[in-house]
Assembly symmetry: C3
Homo-oligomer: 212 residues x 3
Amino acid sequence: MIDFSLFSTFDLLGTVAFAISGALAAMSRKLDLFGIFIIAFVTATGGGTVRDILIGNNPVMWMENTFYIYLISIITFLAIIFRHKINHLKTSLFLFDTIGLGVFTITGVEAGIENGLSPIISIALGAITGTFGGVIRDILCNEIPVIFRKEIYATACIIGALAYVILYDLNVDNDVIYVVTSLIVISIRLVVVKFKIALPSFYIDPPDEKAS
Amino acid sequence: MIDFSLFSTFDLLGTVAFAISGALAAMSRKLDLFGIFIIAFVTATGGGTVRDILIGNNPVMWMENTFYIYLISIITFLAIIFRHKINHLKTSLFLFDTIGLGVFTITGVEAGIENGLSPIISIALGAITGTFGGVIRDILCNEIPVIFRKEIYATACIIGALAYVILYDLNVDNDVIYVVTSLIVISIRLVVVKFKIALPSFYIDPPDEKAS
Amino acid sequence: MIDFSLFSTFDLLGTVAFAISGALAAMSRKLDLFGIFIIAFVTATGGGTVRDILIGNNPVMWMENTFYIYLISIITFLAIIFRHKINHLKTSLFLFDTIGLGVFTITGVEAGIENGLSPIISIALGAITGTFGGVIRDILCNEIPVIFRKEIYATACIIGALAYVILYDLNVDNDVIYVVTSLIVISIRLVVVKFKIALPSFYIDPPDEKAS
Protein backbone atom coordinates (compact mmCIF):
# COMPACT_ATOMS: atom_id res chain seq x y z
CA MET A 1 0.00 0.00 0.00
CA ILE A 2 2.85 2.32 0.72
CA ASP A 3 5.22 3.43 -1.97
CA PHE A 4 7.96 5.94 -1.73
CA SER A 5 7.65 7.95 -4.88
CA LEU A 6 7.95 11.71 -4.58
CA PHE A 7 4.20 12.11 -4.80
CA SER A 8 3.47 9.56 -2.06
CA THR A 9 6.00 11.14 0.24
CA PHE A 10 4.38 14.52 -0.28
CA ASP A 11 0.93 13.00 0.30
CA LEU A 12 2.24 11.52 3.54
CA LEU A 13 3.73 14.82 4.72
CA GLY A 14 0.49 16.61 3.88
CA THR A 15 -1.61 14.07 5.75
CA VAL A 16 0.67 14.37 8.79
CA ALA A 17 0.49 18.16 8.77
CA PHE A 18 -3.28 18.26 8.34
CA ALA A 19 -3.78 15.66 11.09
CA ILE A 20 -1.60 17.70 13.47
CA SER A 21 -3.48 20.90 12.65
CA GLY A 22 -6.74 19.07 13.46
CA ALA A 23 -5.40 17.61 16.72
CA LEU A 24 -4.19 21.05 17.83
CA ALA A 25 -7.53 22.68 17.04
CA ALA A 26 -9.33 19.95 19.00
CA MET A 27 -7.06 20.24 22.02
CA SER A 28 -7.45 24.00 22.15
CA ARG A 29 -11.20 23.42 22.43
CA LYS A 30 -10.85 20.93 25.32
CA LEU A 31 -12.20 17.98 23.34
CA ASP A 32 -11.62 14.50 24.74
CA LEU A 33 -9.39 11.80 23.27
CA PHE A 34 -12.00 10.56 20.82
CA GLY A 35 -12.82 14.08 19.70
CA ILE A 36 -9.14 14.87 19.12
CA PHE A 37 -8.72 11.77 16.97
CA ILE A 38 -11.86 12.42 14.92
CA ILE A 39 -10.99 16.05 14.25
CA ALA A 40 -7.46 15.02 13.25
CA PHE A 41 -8.93 12.36 10.99
CA VAL A 42 -11.47 14.54 9.21
CA THR A 43 -8.99 17.37 8.76
CA ALA A 44 -6.55 14.99 7.07
CA THR A 45 -9.09 13.02 5.01
CA GLY A 46 -12.05 15.41 4.65
CA GLY A 47 -10.94 17.02 1.39
CA GLY A 48 -10.38 13.68 -0.30
CA THR A 49 -13.63 12.31 1.10
CA VAL A 50 -15.69 15.20 -0.29
CA ARG A 51 -13.87 14.85 -3.62
CA ASP A 52 -14.71 11.13 -3.82
CA ILE A 53 -18.35 11.67 -2.81
CA LEU A 54 -18.85 14.42 -5.40
CA ILE A 55 -17.48 12.35 -8.28
CA GLY A 56 -19.01 9.11 -7.03
CA ASN A 57 -15.77 7.29 -6.25
CA ASN A 58 -16.99 4.74 -3.66
CA PRO A 59 -15.94 3.57 -1.16
CA VAL A 60 -14.03 6.78 -0.48
CA MET A 61 -10.23 6.74 -0.50
CA TRP A 62 -9.44 6.18 3.18
CA MET A 63 -11.77 3.15 3.29
CA GLU A 64 -9.78 1.23 0.72
CA ASN A 65 -6.38 1.91 2.19
CA THR A 66 -5.86 1.29 5.91
CA PHE A 67 -2.64 3.27 5.78
CA TYR A 68 -4.43 6.55 6.56
CA ILE A 69 -6.24 5.36 9.67
CA TYR A 70 -3.04 3.94 11.18
CA LEU A 71 -0.96 6.96 10.25
CA ILE A 72 -3.45 9.43 11.68
CA SER A 73 -3.82 7.39 14.89
CA ILE A 74 -0.07 7.51 15.46
CA ILE A 75 0.12 11.21 14.64
CA THR A 76 -2.74 11.99 17.03
CA PHE A 77 -0.97 10.24 19.90
CA LEU A 78 2.31 11.98 19.12
CA ALA A 79 0.51 15.33 18.91
CA ILE A 80 -1.03 14.74 22.34
CA ILE A 81 2.25 13.65 23.94
CA PHE A 82 4.24 16.54 22.51
CA ARG A 83 1.43 19.08 22.71
CA HIS A 84 3.47 21.56 24.73
CA LYS A 85 6.51 21.28 22.49
CA ILE A 86 4.74 21.50 19.19
CA ASN A 87 5.30 25.23 18.97
CA HIS A 88 8.97 24.59 18.25
CA LEU A 89 7.91 22.72 15.14
CA LYS A 90 5.82 25.59 13.86
CA THR A 91 7.96 26.25 10.80
CA SER A 92 8.15 22.58 9.80
CA LEU A 93 4.42 22.20 10.32
CA PHE A 94 3.67 25.21 8.21
CA LEU A 95 5.84 23.78 5.45
CA PHE A 96 4.21 20.33 5.67
CA ASP A 97 0.79 21.92 5.67
CA THR A 98 1.64 23.86 2.55
CA ILE A 99 3.01 20.75 0.88
CA GLY A 100 -0.20 18.94 1.80
CA LEU A 101 -2.23 21.72 0.31
CA GLY A 102 -0.32 21.42 -2.95
CA VAL A 103 -0.53 17.63 -3.10
CA PHE A 104 -4.20 17.41 -2.16
CA THR A 105 -5.03 20.02 -4.77
CA ILE A 106 -3.26 17.91 -7.38
CA THR A 107 -5.19 14.75 -6.47
CA GLY A 108 -8.43 16.71 -6.90
CA VAL A 109 -7.55 18.15 -10.30
CA GLU A 110 -6.32 14.75 -11.44
CA ALA A 111 -9.54 13.04 -10.34
CA GLY A 112 -11.54 15.64 -12.23
CA ILE A 113 -9.59 15.17 -15.45
CA GLU A 114 -9.68 11.36 -15.18
CA ASN A 115 -13.45 11.51 -14.80
CA GLY A 116 -13.77 13.60 -17.94
CA LEU A 117 -14.84 16.77 -16.18
CA SER A 118 -14.15 20.13 -17.81
CA PRO A 119 -11.00 22.09 -16.82
CA ILE A 120 -12.79 24.69 -14.71
CA ILE A 121 -14.66 22.01 -12.77
CA SER A 122 -11.41 20.08 -12.27
CA ILE A 123 -9.84 23.23 -10.83
CA ALA A 124 -12.80 23.65 -8.49
CA LEU A 125 -12.47 20.03 -7.44
CA GLY A 126 -8.77 20.60 -6.76
CA ALA A 127 -9.52 23.59 -4.55
CA ILE A 128 -12.24 21.64 -2.70
CA THR A 129 -9.89 18.70 -2.12
CA GLY A 130 -7.17 21.01 -0.83
CA THR A 131 -9.33 23.06 1.50
CA PHE A 132 -12.37 21.11 2.72
CA GLY A 133 -10.52 19.12 5.37
CA GLY A 134 -9.93 22.43 7.12
CA VAL A 135 -13.48 23.58 6.44
CA ILE A 136 -14.99 20.48 8.08
CA ARG A 137 -12.54 20.80 11.00
CA ASP A 138 -13.73 24.35 11.63
CA ILE A 139 -17.42 23.43 11.31
CA LEU A 140 -17.00 20.61 13.86
CA CYS A 141 -15.20 23.05 16.16
CA ASN A 142 -18.11 25.47 15.72
CA GLU A 143 -16.21 28.22 13.90
CA ILE A 144 -16.65 30.01 10.60
CA PRO A 145 -14.02 28.28 8.45
CA VAL A 146 -10.76 30.21 8.66
CA ILE A 147 -10.13 29.96 4.91
CA PHE A 148 -13.26 32.04 4.30
CA ARG A 149 -11.97 34.75 6.57
CA LYS A 150 -8.30 35.25 5.91
CA GLU A 151 -5.17 34.29 4.05
CA ILE A 152 -5.00 33.55 0.37
CA TYR A 153 -5.02 29.87 1.12
CA ALA A 154 -7.52 28.73 -1.43
CA THR A 155 -6.24 31.16 -4.00
CA ALA A 156 -2.90 29.34 -3.97
CA CYS A 157 -4.80 26.10 -4.66
CA ILE A 158 -6.73 27.61 -7.51
CA ILE A 159 -3.68 29.08 -9.25
CA GLY A 160 -1.81 25.80 -8.82
CA ALA A 161 -4.77 23.87 -10.18
CA LEU A 162 -4.93 26.22 -13.15
CA ALA A 163 -1.26 25.55 -13.86
CA TYR A 164 -1.93 21.80 -13.67
CA VAL A 165 -4.72 22.00 -16.22
CA ILE A 166 -2.63 24.09 -18.63
CA LEU A 167 0.42 21.82 -18.34
CA TYR A 168 -1.76 18.76 -18.78
CA ASP A 169 -3.23 20.28 -21.90
CA LEU A 170 0.30 20.83 -23.23
CA ASN A 171 1.00 17.09 -22.72
CA VAL A 172 3.75 17.77 -20.20
CA ASP A 173 5.00 14.69 -18.34
CA ASN A 174 3.02 13.85 -15.16
CA ASP A 175 6.00 14.03 -12.80
CA VAL A 176 6.90 17.45 -14.11
CA ILE A 177 3.30 18.61 -13.66
CA TYR A 178 3.32 17.41 -10.05
CA VAL A 179 6.52 19.23 -9.20
CA VAL A 180 5.66 22.47 -10.97
CA THR A 181 2.12 22.60 -9.57
CA SER A 182 3.31 21.87 -6.04
CA LEU A 183 6.03 24.49 -6.30
CA ILE A 184 3.52 27.09 -7.48
CA VAL A 185 1.11 26.42 -4.62
CA ILE A 186 3.92 26.38 -2.07
CA SER A 187 5.59 29.53 -3.39
CA ILE A 188 2.38 31.54 -3.46
CA ARG A 189 1.54 30.49 0.07
CA LEU A 190 5.02 31.36 1.36
CA VAL A 191 4.96 34.77 -0.29
CA VAL A 192 1.43 35.48 0.93
CA VAL A 193 2.23 34.63 4.53
CA LYS A 194 5.62 36.36 4.45
CA PHE A 195 4.11 39.63 3.22
CA LYS A 196 0.77 39.22 5.01
CA ILE A 197 -1.17 39.61 1.79
CA ALA A 198 -4.91 39.13 2.20
CA LEU A 199 -7.85 38.96 -0.15
CA PRO A 200 -10.15 41.94 0.12
CA SER A 201 -13.35 41.57 2.08
CA PHE A 202 -16.48 43.64 1.51
CA TYR A 203 -18.45 44.32 4.61
CA ILE A 204 -22.15 45.11 4.56
CA ASP A 205 -24.62 45.30 7.42
CA PRO A 206 -26.40 42.02 8.07
CA PRO A 207 -29.33 41.69 5.63
CA ASP A 208 -32.72 40.76 6.96
CA GLU A 209 -33.06 37.03 6.75
CA LYS A 210 -35.93 36.94 4.30
CA ALA A 211 -34.15 34.92 1.65
CA SER A 212 -33.06 31.43 2.54
CA MET B 1 -26.02 23.65 -22.31
CA ILE B 2 -28.32 26.63 -21.98
CA ASP B 3 -31.86 26.48 -23.20
CA PHE B 4 -34.55 29.04 -22.76
CA SER B 5 -37.59 27.03 -21.86
CA LEU B 6 -39.75 28.32 -19.04
CA PHE B 7 -38.24 25.80 -16.64
CA SER B 8 -34.64 26.69 -17.48
CA THR B 9 -35.35 30.36 -17.10
CA PHE B 10 -36.87 29.74 -13.69
CA ASP B 11 -33.89 27.55 -12.72
CA LEU B 12 -31.61 30.41 -13.74
CA LEU B 13 -33.54 33.00 -11.74
CA GLY B 14 -33.52 30.73 -8.72
CA THR B 15 -29.77 30.13 -8.99
CA VAL B 16 -29.18 33.88 -9.27
CA ALA B 17 -31.33 34.64 -6.24
CA PHE B 18 -29.79 31.93 -4.08
CA ALA B 19 -26.26 32.98 -5.09
CA ILE B 20 -27.03 36.59 -4.13
CA SER B 21 -28.49 35.53 -0.80
CA GLY B 22 -25.28 33.59 -0.13
CA ALA B 23 -23.02 36.46 -1.16
CA LEU B 24 -24.94 38.88 1.08
CA ALA B 25 -24.74 36.53 4.06
CA ALA B 26 -20.98 36.13 3.53
CA MET B 27 -20.38 39.88 3.22
CA SER B 28 -22.32 40.61 6.38
CA ARG B 29 -19.91 38.26 8.19
CA LYS B 30 -16.80 39.98 6.81
CA LEU B 31 -15.63 36.98 4.80
CA ASP B 32 -12.99 37.53 2.14
CA LEU B 33 -13.43 37.29 -1.62
CA PHE B 34 -12.96 33.53 -1.70
CA GLY B 35 -15.35 33.01 1.19
CA ILE B 36 -18.00 35.16 -0.49
CA PHE B 37 -17.76 33.13 -3.69
CA ILE B 38 -17.87 29.76 -1.90
CA ILE B 39 -20.87 30.71 0.22
CA ALA B 40 -22.65 32.02 -2.89
CA PHE B 41 -21.80 28.80 -4.69
CA VAL B 42 -22.94 26.38 -1.99
CA THR B 43 -26.14 28.33 -1.38
CA ALA B 44 -27.01 28.12 -5.06
CA THR B 45 -25.90 24.53 -5.65
CA GLY B 46 -26.07 22.92 -2.19
CA GLY B 47 -29.63 21.65 -2.46
CA GLY B 48 -29.03 19.98 -5.82
CA THR B 49 -25.71 18.58 -4.63
CA VAL B 50 -27.26 16.92 -1.56
CA ARG B 51 -30.08 15.59 -3.78
CA ASP B 52 -27.59 14.04 -6.20
CA ILE B 53 -25.45 12.54 -3.42
CA LEU B 54 -28.48 10.98 -1.69
CA ILE B 55 -29.75 9.29 -4.83
CA GLY B 56 -26.30 8.44 -6.13
CA ASN B 57 -26.34 10.67 -9.20
CA ASN B 58 -22.59 11.17 -9.78
CA PRO B 59 -20.83 13.37 -10.63
CA VAL B 60 -23.25 15.87 -9.08
CA MET B 61 -25.12 18.31 -11.30
CA TRP B 62 -22.83 21.35 -11.22
CA MET B 63 -19.83 19.21 -12.19
CA GLU B 64 -21.30 18.17 -15.50
CA ASN B 65 -22.48 21.59 -16.55
CA THR B 66 -20.01 24.48 -16.34
CA PHE B 67 -22.87 26.94 -16.72
CA TYR B 68 -23.42 27.12 -12.95
CA ILE B 69 -19.84 27.92 -11.99
CA TYR B 70 -19.63 30.75 -14.54
CA LEU B 71 -23.06 32.13 -13.67
CA ILE B 72 -22.35 32.15 -9.93
CA SER B 73 -18.92 33.76 -10.45
CA ILE B 74 -20.51 36.61 -12.37
CA ILE B 75 -23.31 37.01 -9.84
CA THR B 76 -20.81 37.10 -6.96
CA PHE B 77 -18.84 39.90 -8.58
CA LEU B 78 -22.00 41.86 -9.34
CA ALA B 79 -23.22 41.35 -5.76
CA ILE B 80 -19.92 42.71 -4.44
CA ILE B 81 -19.89 45.73 -6.75
CA PHE B 82 -23.51 46.66 -6.05
CA ARG B 83 -23.48 45.59 -2.41
CA HIS B 84 -24.67 48.95 -1.14
CA LYS B 85 -27.44 49.23 -3.72
CA ILE B 86 -28.80 45.74 -3.40
CA ASN B 87 -31.43 46.85 -0.91
CA HIS B 88 -33.34 48.52 -3.72
CA LEU B 89 -33.70 45.12 -5.36
CA LYS B 90 -35.18 43.54 -2.28
CA THR B 91 -38.56 42.84 -3.83
CA SER B 92 -37.12 41.36 -7.03
CA LEU B 93 -34.71 39.25 -5.03
CA PHE B 94 -37.46 37.95 -2.82
CA LEU B 95 -39.44 37.00 -5.91
CA PHE B 96 -36.45 35.30 -7.57
CA ASP B 97 -35.68 33.46 -4.36
CA THR B 98 -39.23 32.20 -4.16
CA ILE B 99 -39.13 31.14 -7.80
CA GLY B 100 -35.88 29.32 -7.10
CA LEU B 101 -37.46 27.56 -4.15
CA GLY B 102 -40.31 26.37 -6.35
CA VAL B 103 -38.06 25.23 -9.20
CA PHE B 104 -35.50 23.48 -7.00
CA THR B 105 -38.28 21.68 -5.19
CA ILE B 106 -39.58 20.42 -8.53
CA THR B 107 -36.17 19.09 -9.60
CA GLY B 108 -35.98 17.16 -6.33
CA VAL B 109 -39.42 15.58 -6.61
CA GLU B 110 -38.76 14.75 -10.26
CA ALA B 111 -35.45 13.06 -9.43
CA GLY B 112 -37.18 11.01 -6.75
CA ILE B 113 -39.93 9.82 -9.09
CA GLU B 114 -37.46 9.06 -11.90
CA ASN B 115 -35.44 6.93 -9.50
CA GLY B 116 -38.51 4.94 -8.54
CA LEU B 117 -38.72 6.30 -5.01
CA SER B 118 -42.07 6.36 -3.24
CA PRO B 119 -44.19 9.56 -3.29
CA ILE B 120 -43.48 10.56 0.32
CA ILE B 121 -39.74 10.12 -0.17
CA SER B 122 -39.90 12.11 -3.42
CA ILE B 123 -41.63 14.92 -1.52
CA ALA B 124 -38.92 14.81 1.14
CA LEU B 125 -36.27 14.94 -1.57
CA GLY B 126 -38.03 17.96 -3.09
CA ALA B 127 -38.01 19.78 0.24
CA ILE B 128 -34.33 18.92 0.78
CA THR B 129 -33.40 20.15 -2.70
CA GLY B 130 -35.29 23.40 -2.14
CA THR B 131 -33.95 24.18 1.32
CA PHE B 132 -30.51 22.64 1.87
CA GLY B 133 -28.58 25.30 -0.03
CA GLY B 134 -29.72 27.71 2.66
CA VAL B 135 -29.04 25.20 5.42
CA ILE B 136 -25.42 24.68 4.32
CA ARG B 137 -24.97 28.46 3.92
CA ASP B 138 -26.07 28.98 7.53
CA ILE B 139 -23.89 26.16 8.87
CA LEU B 140 -20.82 27.60 7.11
CA CYS B 141 -21.70 31.02 8.56
CA ASN B 142 -21.95 29.39 12.01
CA GLU B 143 -25.67 29.96 12.55
CA ILE B 144 -28.60 27.69 13.31
CA PRO B 145 -30.26 27.40 9.88
CA VAL B 146 -32.90 30.13 9.54
CA ILE B 147 -35.45 27.75 8.02
CA PHE B 148 -35.48 25.78 11.28
CA ARG B 149 -36.30 28.90 13.22
CA LYS B 150 -38.85 30.92 11.30
CA GLU B 151 -41.04 31.37 8.24
CA ILE B 152 -43.02 28.61 6.60
CA TYR B 153 -40.35 28.28 3.98
CA ALA B 154 -40.03 24.54 3.87
CA THR B 155 -43.75 24.07 4.32
CA ALA B 156 -44.33 25.82 1.00
CA CYS B 157 -41.91 23.33 -0.59
CA ILE B 158 -43.64 20.37 0.95
CA ILE B 159 -47.14 21.41 -0.14
CA GLY B 160 -45.87 22.18 -3.65
CA ALA B 161 -44.12 18.82 -3.79
CA LEU B 162 -47.31 17.10 -2.65
CA ALA B 163 -49.21 18.79 -5.49
CA TYR B 164 -46.54 17.62 -7.94
CA VAL B 165 -46.89 14.01 -6.85
CA ILE B 166 -50.69 14.10 -7.06
CA LEU B 167 -50.71 15.74 -10.51
CA TYR B 168 -48.08 13.30 -11.73
CA ASP B 169 -50.23 10.44 -10.54
CA LEU B 170 -53.17 11.88 -12.51
CA ASN B 171 -51.00 11.84 -15.65
CA VAL B 172 -51.17 15.60 -16.05
CA ASP B 173 -48.81 17.03 -18.67
CA ASN B 174 -45.32 17.85 -17.34
CA ASP B 175 -45.42 21.54 -18.30
CA VAL B 176 -48.70 21.98 -16.50
CA ILE B 177 -47.29 20.25 -13.42
CA TYR B 178 -44.29 22.60 -13.42
CA VAL B 179 -46.42 25.72 -13.64
CA VAL B 180 -49.03 24.63 -11.09
CA THR B 181 -46.45 23.41 -8.58
CA SER B 182 -44.36 26.56 -8.92
CA LEU B 183 -47.43 28.76 -8.51
CA ILE B 184 -48.45 26.90 -5.36
CA VAL B 185 -45.02 27.26 -3.75
CA ILE B 186 -44.80 30.91 -4.74
CA SER B 187 -48.34 31.77 -3.61
CA ILE B 188 -47.94 30.13 -0.21
CA ARG B 189 -44.68 31.91 0.38
CA LEU B 190 -46.11 35.29 -0.62
CA VAL B 191 -49.15 34.84 1.63
CA VAL B 192 -47.01 33.63 4.53
CA VAL B 193 -44.63 36.56 4.36
CA LYS B 194 -47.42 39.09 3.74
CA PHE B 195 -49.36 37.99 6.80
CA LYS B 196 -46.31 37.05 8.87
CA ILE B 197 -47.60 33.55 9.47
CA ALA B 198 -45.18 31.31 11.39
CA LEU B 199 -45.11 27.67 12.35
CA PRO B 200 -45.53 27.11 16.06
CA SER B 201 -42.45 26.36 18.14
CA PHE B 202 -42.47 24.43 21.40
CA TYR B 203 -39.91 25.55 23.89
CA ILE B 204 -38.54 23.30 26.61
CA ASP B 205 -35.60 23.82 28.93
CA PRO B 206 -32.37 22.36 27.59
CA PRO B 207 -32.25 18.63 28.36
CA ASP B 208 -29.18 17.16 29.98
CA GLU B 209 -26.93 15.92 27.24
CA LYS B 210 -26.99 12.26 28.19
CA ALA B 211 -28.37 11.02 24.89
CA SER B 212 -26.37 11.58 21.78
CA MET C 1 -41.07 -3.74 5.16
CA ILE C 2 -41.45 -4.29 8.87
CA ASP C 3 -40.38 -7.51 10.46
CA PHE C 4 -40.25 -8.32 14.13
CA SER C 5 -36.98 -10.11 14.55
CA LEU C 6 -34.86 -9.15 17.54
CA PHE C 7 -32.60 -7.04 15.37
CA SER C 8 -35.47 -5.10 13.76
CA THR C 9 -37.03 -4.42 17.13
CA PHE C 10 -33.72 -3.07 18.40
CA ASP C 11 -33.33 -0.96 15.25
CA LEU C 12 -36.81 0.44 15.87
CA LEU C 13 -36.09 1.25 19.52
CA GLY C 14 -32.83 2.93 18.53
CA THR C 15 -34.53 5.01 15.85
CA VAL C 16 -37.22 6.08 18.32
CA ALA C 17 -34.66 7.06 20.96
CA PHE C 18 -32.48 8.98 18.53
CA ALA C 19 -35.50 10.79 17.06
CA ILE C 20 -36.64 11.82 20.54
CA SER C 21 -33.16 13.05 21.45
CA GLY C 22 -33.20 15.16 18.27
CA ALA C 23 -36.67 16.55 18.92
CA LEU C 24 -35.70 17.50 22.48
CA ALA C 25 -32.52 19.24 21.33
CA ALA C 26 -34.53 21.19 18.72
CA MET C 27 -37.23 22.26 21.19
CA SER C 28 -34.66 23.46 23.70
CA ARG C 29 -33.34 25.77 20.96
CA LYS C 30 -36.79 27.20 20.14
CA LEU C 31 -36.88 25.78 16.62
CA ASP C 32 -40.23 25.69 14.83
CA LEU C 33 -42.25 22.60 13.90
CA PHE C 34 -40.32 21.96 10.69
CA GLY C 35 -36.99 22.40 12.44
CA ILE C 36 -37.99 19.97 15.18
CA PHE C 37 -38.95 17.33 12.64
CA ILE C 38 -35.79 17.76 10.57
CA ILE C 39 -33.48 17.58 13.58
CA ALA C 40 -35.34 14.48 14.81
CA PHE C 41 -35.01 12.98 11.34
CA VAL C 42 -31.31 13.63 10.85
CA THR C 43 -30.46 12.46 14.36
CA ALA C 44 -32.24 9.16 13.72
CA THR C 45 -31.06 8.61 10.15
CA GLY C 46 -27.83 10.63 9.92
CA GLY C 47 -25.45 7.84 10.92
CA GLY C 48 -26.92 5.41 8.39
CA THR C 49 -26.99 8.10 5.71
CA VAL C 50 -23.31 8.93 6.13
CA ARG C 51 -22.52 5.19 6.15
CA ASP C 52 -24.38 4.67 2.86
CA ILE C 53 -22.80 7.72 1.21
CA LEU C 54 -19.27 6.66 2.21
CA ILE C 55 -19.62 3.14 0.82
CA GLY C 56 -21.69 4.24 -2.18
CA ASN C 57 -24.94 2.50 -1.25
CA ASN C 58 -27.46 4.63 -3.19
CA PRO C 59 -30.17 5.66 -2.71
CA VAL C 60 -29.46 5.82 1.02
CA MET C 61 -31.36 3.56 3.40
CA TRP C 62 -34.26 5.81 4.46
CA MET C 63 -35.11 6.56 0.81
CA GLU C 64 -35.86 2.95 0.00
CA ASN C 65 -37.96 2.22 3.06
CA THR C 66 -40.77 4.65 3.91
CA PHE C 67 -41.02 3.10 7.36
CA TYR C 68 -38.45 5.52 8.80
CA ILE C 69 -40.12 8.72 7.63
CA TYR C 70 -43.51 7.67 9.02
CA LEU C 71 -42.05 6.42 12.30
CA ILE C 72 -40.03 9.58 12.88
CA SER C 73 -43.03 11.80 12.03
CA ILE C 74 -45.13 10.05 14.64
CA ILE C 75 -42.36 10.18 17.23
CA THR C 76 -41.83 13.90 16.61
CA PHE C 77 -45.49 14.66 17.23
CA LEU C 78 -45.55 12.53 20.36
CA ALA C 79 -42.37 14.20 21.60
CA ILE C 80 -43.97 17.63 21.12
CA ILE C 81 -47.24 16.67 22.82
CA PHE C 82 -45.53 15.06 25.79
CA ARG C 83 -42.59 17.46 25.90
CA HIS C 84 -43.17 18.42 29.54
CA LYS C 85 -43.56 14.82 30.66
CA ILE C 86 -40.63 13.36 28.83
CA ASN C 87 -38.38 13.75 31.86
CA HIS C 88 -40.21 10.87 33.51
CA LEU C 89 -39.09 8.65 30.66
CA LYS C 90 -35.44 9.55 31.11
CA THR C 91 -34.32 6.07 32.11
CA SER C 92 -36.21 4.33 29.30
CA LEU C 93 -34.90 6.85 26.79
CA PHE C 94 -31.36 6.38 27.94
CA LEU C 95 -31.78 2.63 27.55
CA PHE C 96 -33.33 2.95 24.06
CA ASP C 97 -30.59 5.36 23.05
CA THR C 98 -27.96 2.91 24.17
CA ILE C 99 -29.69 0.08 22.33
CA GLY C 100 -29.80 2.28 19.23
CA LEU C 101 -26.11 2.98 19.57
CA GLY C 102 -25.39 -0.74 19.70
CA VAL C 103 -27.65 -1.63 16.77
CA PHE C 104 -26.50 1.21 14.54
CA THR C 105 -22.88 0.31 15.22
CA ILE C 106 -23.62 -3.25 14.11
CA THR C 107 -25.23 -2.15 10.83
CA GLY C 108 -22.11 -0.11 10.09
CA VAL C 109 -19.63 -2.90 10.79
CA GLU C 110 -21.78 -5.31 8.81
CA ALA C 111 -21.94 -2.97 5.81
CA GLY C 112 -18.15 -2.63 5.92
CA ILE C 113 -17.56 -6.38 5.97
CA GLU C 114 -20.13 -7.01 3.23
CA ASN C 115 -18.38 -4.46 1.04
CA GLY C 116 -15.06 -6.19 1.52
CA LEU C 117 -13.50 -3.45 3.62
CA SER C 118 -10.73 -4.34 6.06
CA PRO C 119 -11.60 -4.98 9.76
CA ILE C 120 -10.25 -1.68 11.07
CA ILE C 121 -12.18 0.30 8.45
CA SER C 122 -15.33 -1.70 9.24
CA ILE C 123 -14.91 -0.78 12.91
CA ALA C 124 -14.51 2.88 11.95
CA LEU C 125 -17.64 2.63 9.80
CA GLY C 126 -19.51 1.12 12.75
CA ALA C 127 -18.47 3.97 15.03
CA ILE C 128 -19.44 6.53 12.38
CA THR C 129 -22.85 4.90 11.87
CA GLY C 130 -23.47 4.85 15.62
CA THR C 131 -22.40 8.40 16.37
CA PHE C 132 -22.86 10.66 13.33
CA GLY C 133 -26.59 11.16 13.77
CA GLY C 134 -25.76 12.95 17.01
CA VAL C 135 -22.85 14.80 15.40
CA ILE C 136 -25.05 16.22 12.63
CA ARG C 137 -27.76 17.10 15.19
CA ASP C 138 -25.24 19.14 17.17
CA ILE C 139 -23.80 20.84 14.08
CA LEU C 140 -27.30 21.90 12.96
CA CYS C 141 -27.96 23.19 16.48
CA ASN C 142 -24.69 25.14 16.28
CA GLU C 143 -22.81 23.27 19.02
CA ILE C 144 -19.55 21.39 19.17
CA PRO C 145 -20.72 17.75 19.00
CA VAL C 146 -21.23 16.45 22.53
CA ILE C 147 -19.52 13.15 21.75
CA PHE C 148 -16.28 15.01 21.12
CA ARG C 149 -16.48 16.62 24.52
CA LYS C 150 -17.58 14.08 27.04
CA GLU C 151 -18.70 10.55 27.84
CA ILE C 152 -17.15 7.43 26.44
CA TYR C 153 -19.94 7.16 23.95
CA ALA C 154 -17.97 6.43 20.84
CA THR C 155 -15.54 4.23 22.74
CA ALA C 156 -18.40 1.86 23.55
CA CYS C 157 -19.15 1.70 19.81
CA ILE C 158 -15.56 1.00 18.93
CA ILE C 159 -15.11 -1.80 21.46
CA GLY C 160 -18.43 -3.36 20.39
CA ALA C 161 -17.42 -3.12 16.75
CA LEU C 162 -14.09 -4.75 17.56
CA ALA C 163 -15.93 -7.64 19.22
CA TYR C 164 -18.13 -7.98 16.13
CA VAL C 165 -15.13 -8.25 13.82
CA ILE C 166 -13.42 -10.84 16.03
CA LEU C 167 -16.56 -12.98 16.41
CA TYR C 168 -17.21 -12.73 12.67
CA ASP C 169 -13.69 -13.91 12.02
CA LEU C 170 -14.31 -16.91 14.31
CA ASN C 171 -17.37 -17.81 12.19
CA VAL C 172 -19.75 -17.32 15.09
CA ASP C 173 -23.44 -17.35 14.12
CA ASN C 174 -24.84 -13.95 13.09
CA ASP C 175 -27.57 -13.85 15.74
CA VAL C 176 -25.03 -14.57 18.46
CA ILE C 177 -22.78 -11.83 17.12
CA TYR C 178 -25.67 -9.33 17.21
CA VAL C 179 -26.57 -10.14 20.80
CA VAL C 180 -23.02 -10.23 22.14
CA THR C 181 -21.99 -7.02 20.36
CA SER C 182 -25.11 -5.18 21.52
CA LEU C 183 -24.60 -6.37 25.09
CA ILE C 184 -21.00 -5.17 25.07
CA VAL C 185 -21.90 -1.71 23.80
CA ILE C 186 -24.80 -1.41 26.23
CA SER C 187 -22.82 -2.67 29.24
CA ILE C 188 -19.90 -0.35 28.64
CA ARG C 189 -22.19 2.61 28.29
CA LEU C 190 -24.11 1.76 31.45
CA VAL C 191 -20.92 1.32 33.46
CA VAL C 192 -19.41 4.53 32.06
CA VAL C 193 -22.45 6.63 32.92
CA LYS C 194 -22.96 4.96 36.30
CA PHE C 195 -19.39 5.69 37.39
CA LYS C 196 -19.03 8.93 35.44
CA ILE C 197 -15.95 7.70 33.64
CA ALA C 198 -14.63 10.12 31.02
CA LEU C 199 -11.93 10.02 28.42
CA PRO C 200 -9.02 12.31 29.21
CA SER C 201 -8.81 15.63 27.41
CA PHE C 202 -5.58 17.51 26.79
CA TYR C 203 -5.95 21.24 26.84
CA ILE C 204 -3.58 23.57 25.06
CA ASP C 205 -3.89 27.27 24.38
CA PRO C 206 -5.47 28.06 21.03
CA PRO C 207 -2.83 27.85 18.29
CA ASP C 208 -2.51 30.65 15.81
CA GLU C 209 -4.61 29.79 12.82
CA LYS C 210 -1.83 29.59 10.31
CA ALA C 211 -2.48 26.00 9.27
CA SER C 212 -5.78 25.15 7.69
